[in-house]
Symmetry: C2
Subunit: 281 residues, 2 copies
Amino acid sequence: MPELAYVNGKISSIEMAMVPVEDRGYQFGDAVYEVIVSYSGRLFALEEHLERLEGSMCELDFPPISRETVRHSIQDLFKQADLPRAALYLQISRGVGPRNHAFPETRKLQVVMTVRKVDEKPAMLRREGTAAITLKDFRWGRCDIKTVQLLANVLAKQKATESGVDDAIFVAEDEVVREATSSNVFIVADGVVITHPLTQNILPGITRAVVIDLCKDVNLALEERFYYLKDLYSADEVFMTGTITEVLPLVKIDGQIIGDGKVGPVSKQLYGALHEKINNS
Amino acid sequence: MPELAYVNGKISSIEMAMVPVEDRGYQFGDAVYEVIVSYSGRLFALEEHLERLEGSMCELDFPPISRETVRHSIQDLFKQADLPRAALYLQISRGVGPRNHAFPETRKLQVVMTVRKVDEKPAMLRREGTAAITLKDFRWGRCDIKTVQLLANVLAKQKATESGVDDAIFVAEDEVVREATSSNVFIVADGVVITHPLTQNILPGITRAVVIDLCKDVNLALEERFYYLKDLYSADEVFMTGTITEVLPLVKIDGQIIGDGKVGPVSKQLYGALHEKINNS
């Protein structure tokens, strides 16, 4: 059950996997990525990830790449790693060439993957909920494209870690709540599940979309609309969604207790429904 | 006179220079950089670049690295390349480790360099001035730190190229003019040279600082203050400054002629003064 890497068709150990220093992913962050996880040896929502990947590439005017080729490479690497509970990281950059901001003439994409064991969220966090801080959204204007422009996220996550909490939530200048460093954010208020609508300021999360569908399935009222910092603090429940996050309740934000400070019934229900969907997929 | 690369002390051809796929520069854009050029075999403003580099690293809480070590590595590579008119690119990333947003435990920085011949601006552009478009600033909120979070700059430069002009100028929501994709922007209005003050929204350009000093030397009135899109269009002169840009006049912006459409006296004077300073350095 090895952890492996892939670079343009070549599989190796992760330590041996290298890219050229003039890869545009390295010098400009000119690259997109996906993280796909498996449960019991099966990749979850692979097609949804591939579709979003194509969307990211399209937004950045990357040359097209056949979905079948990518899917095949992913499945082959995943099979060779033979990790039942794996996190497969896929990054595609615009290519390699002498440093120059404008797009290069070469249209040869770099495809890189790693597959590792999932870094699981501690069971206690899932049982008892977790905590976050908020901070001003200082990311760029195209957070809807899943690129490696992640330094703001890195700095925010580090600030959370140093504050002794699990994550940081980006809040816009006008106090609209955007999302966390690698998860979308939902609130529950008066029985309604509310999340930020899809705009250029948040990632169109795969788990976000799954959870929205699950709300419909289980007859929970769901609204995609802007909500504010005060709504976050006063919510009955708050939870984050993401590929590795799954559905993770937040019971304390900026030191303020959310609801009664315990994991709420909607968060529990949706976590259960997500795992039921995963098991049946 | 070879073009060379350097990775953590090892010098090779650029094509052979590789970094690990889990370099944080590659997966998060968690890296800073500098571009330093030489004239007649001498690196210009090396100490200023080293000082800015240290500032960038400090802002991002990188572990410190001795300036002497970096200076020595730069000078050694530059000497080996033996290119009289070289552009030395230096990138330092936070290190290598399994992908995780928060800072890694390892405090081993990655130091990468390339040295290439300068990609000179065409003489005609310098003689006759060049053109730019403007677009909304959609970059992140810490453009004062010289990081590889450059995808917005890449997309803007590409848009300029496709529009048949040389560069793009970022303009804030409130129409404050920020800077170009890899240069600062100055205007001349009623005999006063004006440029955006140092805030988190623009790069503290080395050439910007040199040109500000030169204005004082030659008794040109200089103001570091916000100015707006309408001021840009109605300026007597507009020019960009940068390490490779030097002092480059803009005579057309968004299709509108600036001043009389010719390179103005202040731009000419400052370009001359910059080269005098370079020759005497």
